[in-house]
C-alpha cells in the first residue's frame, strides 16, 4: 500500500470547499458570536456588552428547563432506537430479493420531509379522523393531546418511526459484512444465539453504533420542525425544546444577543460531543487502510 503523500499542496484542492464553507458556515457562525457579545438597538446598531448575555442565559431557569427537556428527549429516543435498531438489523434477512425490499421500505421514513413527518403524526392522533386517535377511542381511552405524558409519548413514537431506520440500516450493513464462515464455526462450537450476538455480531457493530449514536444524539438534541408542527411546544412549555427556545428568543422576541449566546452555548455542547465521537470513529493513524 502506498502511503499518503505529504504536502500542503492539498490546500489547493481544499480551497473551493473552504471558500463555500466560509460563506455559509464561518460567516454566519461569526455573526452569531458577534450578536452574543453585543446589545442591539433597532436591529442595526450594536453596543459591546461583553459576556452579559451569557450570564443572563446561564442564570435563566427557562434555558435550563428547555435544555433538560432536550437532553431528556435525546436520551429517551436513544434508549429506544438503538436497541430496537440492533434487534431489527440482526433479524433482517441478509440475502435475496426480500432483503432489498426491506431495505428500501425501511429507508422511506428517512426520506420524508420533516414537516410532513410532523403533519402525518399530527393527523394520526386526531380524535376521530386519525388512526391512533380513533384506535384509542375504540379502546375507550381519550387520546388527550393536552396531557404532557401523552404528548411526550407521541413525540418519542414519532421520532422512533422517523429515525430508527438509520440505526437499522447502519447496523445491517455492518452485519452483512460478517462472513458466513464465522457463523458456521460458531454453530460447530455449539454457541448459543446470545453468544453469537455477543462475540461475533456485536464487535462488528462497534463503528456502526458509534456513528448511529453520534448522529441520533445530535439530531434529536436539535430537533425543531416535527415537534413544532405537532405541539407548538405545548401543552404549556412541556415540549418546548432548546431549538424552539432559541428560535423564539431570536426571531419572535428579537433578542439577538440572548439568542446568540444560547446558540453559542448550544454549539459548544455539540462540538464537545462530536469531538469525542470523532476520535473514536476516525482513528489517528490515517495512513492505515481501516478507516
Amino acid at each position: 500500500m502506498t502511503r499518503k503523500t505529504y504536502g500542503n499542496r492539498a490546500y489547493w484542492y481544499l480551497a473551493p470547499a473552504l471558500m463555500v464553507m466560509t460563506l455559509c458556515g464561518v460567516i454566519p457562525m461569526a455573526m452569531v458570536g458577534f450578536y452574543s457579545v453585543h446589545d442591539t438597538f433597532a436591529g442595526n446598531r450594536f453596543f459591546w456588552v461583553g459576556f452579559d448575555w451569557y450570564a443572563s442565559v446561564l442564570t435563566s431557569p427557562e434555558f435550563f428547563a428547555s435544555a433538560a427537556r432536550s437532553l431528556g428527549f435525546s436520551l429517551t429516543v436513544l434508549a429506544v432506537q438503538i436497541p430496537l435498531g440492533i434487534y431489527i438489523a440482526v433479524r433482517l434477512p441478509t440475502q435475496g430479493v426480500l432483503s432489498n425490499v426491506y431495505v428500501v421500505l425501511i429507508a422511506i421514513p428517512l426520506l420524508t420531509p420533516w414537516l410532513v413527518v410532523g403533519y402525518i403524526w399530527k393527523v394520526l392522533v386526531l380524535p376521530h379522523a386519525g388512526l391512533l386517535g380513533a384506535a384509542a377511542l375504540w379502546l375507550g381511552i381519550d387520546y388527550d393531546m393536552t396531557n404532557p405524558v401523552v404528548v411526550w409519548l407521541t413525540l418519542v413514537l414519532m421520532d422512533t418511526w422517523h429515525w430508527t431506520s438509520l440505526v437499522v440500516l447502519l447496523c445491517f450493513a455492518a452485519l452483512r459484512a460478517i462472513p458466513d464462515d464465522c457463523y458456521r464455526a460458531a454453530k460447530i462450537d455449539g454457541a448459543s444465539g446470545w453468544a453469537v450476538f455477543r462475540h461475533i455480531q456485536l464487535p462488528k457493530l462497534r463503528l456502526a453504533l458509534l456513528i448511529a449514536l453520534l448522529l441520533r444524539f445530535i439530531d434529536s438534541f436539535l430537533i425543531y420542525t416535527e415537534p413544532y408542527v405537532i405541539t407548538r411546544g405545548g401543552p404549556g412549555v412541556s415540549t418546548t425544546f432548546l431549538s424552539h427556545e432559541l428560535v423564539q428568543t431570536a426571531t419572535i422576541q428579537f433578542d439577538l444577543g440572548e439568542g446568540g449566546a444560547m446558540a453559542v452555548i448550544y454549539f459548544l455542547i455539540v462540538l464537545c460531543v462530536s469531538w469525542v465521537f470523532f476520535t473514536l470513529i476516525v482513528p489517528r493513524d490515517r495512513d492505515g487502510k481501516a478507516r
Binding site: 490546500y11 458556515g25 433482517l92 426480500l98 425501511i106 410532513v116 393527523v123 463503528l207 456513528i211
Partner: protein
C-alpha cells in the same frame, strides 16, 4: 427457526408503513369522509385532491422550487467536495485531521442556530426568495456530508492508480475526469442522492429564506395548514407527492445507503 427469524422485521416494516398507508388513503378521500370517522379504505376514491395540485401553479410550483434549490445545492456540494475529498483521501498535510473534524462540526450545527444570520445576510444581499439563497444556506451541512461520503469512496480506490496515471502522463484534469470519477461513479450518485434528500427534507431555513417565488412545497403546506379549517385531504395529497422523488431514486442507491447515512465511514 428460519420462519421465526423473519417475524420481527416483517412486523416492524409493517408498522413503519401504517402511517404512510394512512397518508395515502387520506389523499384519496374527501374531507367529508375524513371528518366522518374511520374508514380503512376510501369509500369513494377520488383524484380531486391531486387534481387541485396539478392544476394550480401556487401548489405545483412548490415542488419545482424545492427541486430547483436542492439540485443547485447538489451541484455546488459535489463540485467543491470532490477535490476536497481527494485531498483528505490522498494527502497528509498540516492540520488535516483537525480540518476533517472542522468540516464535520458544521454538519452538527442545526438550522435553528444559523437562522438569524442567514436571514440577515440574504436580506442585505437582496437575495431573499431566490433559489440560490436556499441552495447556499443548505451547503453548511451538505458540503461536509459530501466531503465525508466521497472521502470514504475515494479511499477505497487504490492509490497505485494515481501513480500509474501519473506515469502514463495524465495531467490532474484528465486524471480526475477519465480515471478517478468513473471509478467512484456510484459514490457520486450516492452523494448526490443524499445531498438532494437532506436539502429536500429541511424546512426551517428553506421556509424562512423564501416568500413567494422560491417557496418550497413544505412552506406552501404550512400556509395552507395554518388556516382554521385545514383541508386535510388536500394536505395529504401534497404530502404524498413530497415522498415521490425519494422513493423513486432510492432504488438506484439501495446498495450504498449505509455508506451515505454513515457519511462514508462504513462500507456495504
Amino acid at each position: 427457526m428460519t420462519r421465526k427469524v423473519y417475524v420481527a422485521p416483517a412486523v416492524y416494516t409493517l408498522l413503519l408503513m401504517v402511517p404512510i398507508y394512512w397518508l395515502i388513503i387520506m389523499s384519496f378521500k374527501t374531507n367529508a369522509e375524513i371528518g366522518g370517522g374511520l374508514t380503512l379504505i376510501p369509500e369513494a376514491p377520488t383524484l380531486a385532491n391531486y387534481r387541485v395540485i396539478w392544476s394550480d401553479p401556487s401548489w405545483y410550483l412548490g415542488y419545482v422550487n424545492a427541486a430547483i434549490y436542492a439540485a443547485m445545492n447538489v451541484a455546488i456540494a459535489i463540485v467543491v467536495a470532490v477535490p476536497a475529498a481527494y485531498a483528505f483521501s490522498r494527502y497528509r498535510f498540516f492540520g488535516d485531521r483537525i480540518l476533517f473534524f472542522w468540516f464535520l462540526s458544521f454538519r452538527m450545527i442545526a438550522p435553528p442556530i444559523l437562522l438569524v444570520p442567514f436571514v440577515q445576510i440574504f436580506s442585505d444581499l437582496d437575495m431573499i426568495d431566490t433559489h440560490i439563497a436556499v441552495a447556499i444556506a443548505h451547503c453548511f451541512f451538505n458540503v461536509p456530508i459530501a466531503i465525508w461520503i466521497l472521502e470514504g469512496f475515494m479511499s477505497a480506490v487504490p492509490r497505485e492508480l494515481d501513480d500509474i496515471a501519473r506515469i502514463d502522463g495524465y495531467g490532474i484534469g484528465r486524471f480526475f475526469f477519465q480515471i478517478l470519477l468513473p471509478q467512484i461513479a456510484p459514490g457520486i450518485a450516492a452523494t448526490a442522492f443524499f445531498c438532494f434528500t437532506f436539502s429536500w427534507v429541511e424546512f426551517l431555513l428553506a421556509n424562512a429564506l423564501t416568500t413567494i417565488d422560491a417557496k418550497p412545497i413544505a412552506g406552501i403546506m404550512t400556509r395552507a395548514g395554518g388556516v382554521l379549517s385545514a383541508d386535510l385531504a388536500l394536505l395529504s395529497a401534497a404530502s404524498v407527492l413530497t415522498l415521490v422523488p425519494g422513493v423513486v431514486l432510492i432504488y438506484f442507491v439501495r446498495n450504498h445507503l449505509a455508506q451515505g447515512l454513515s457519511m462514508g465511514r462504513q462500507g456495504n
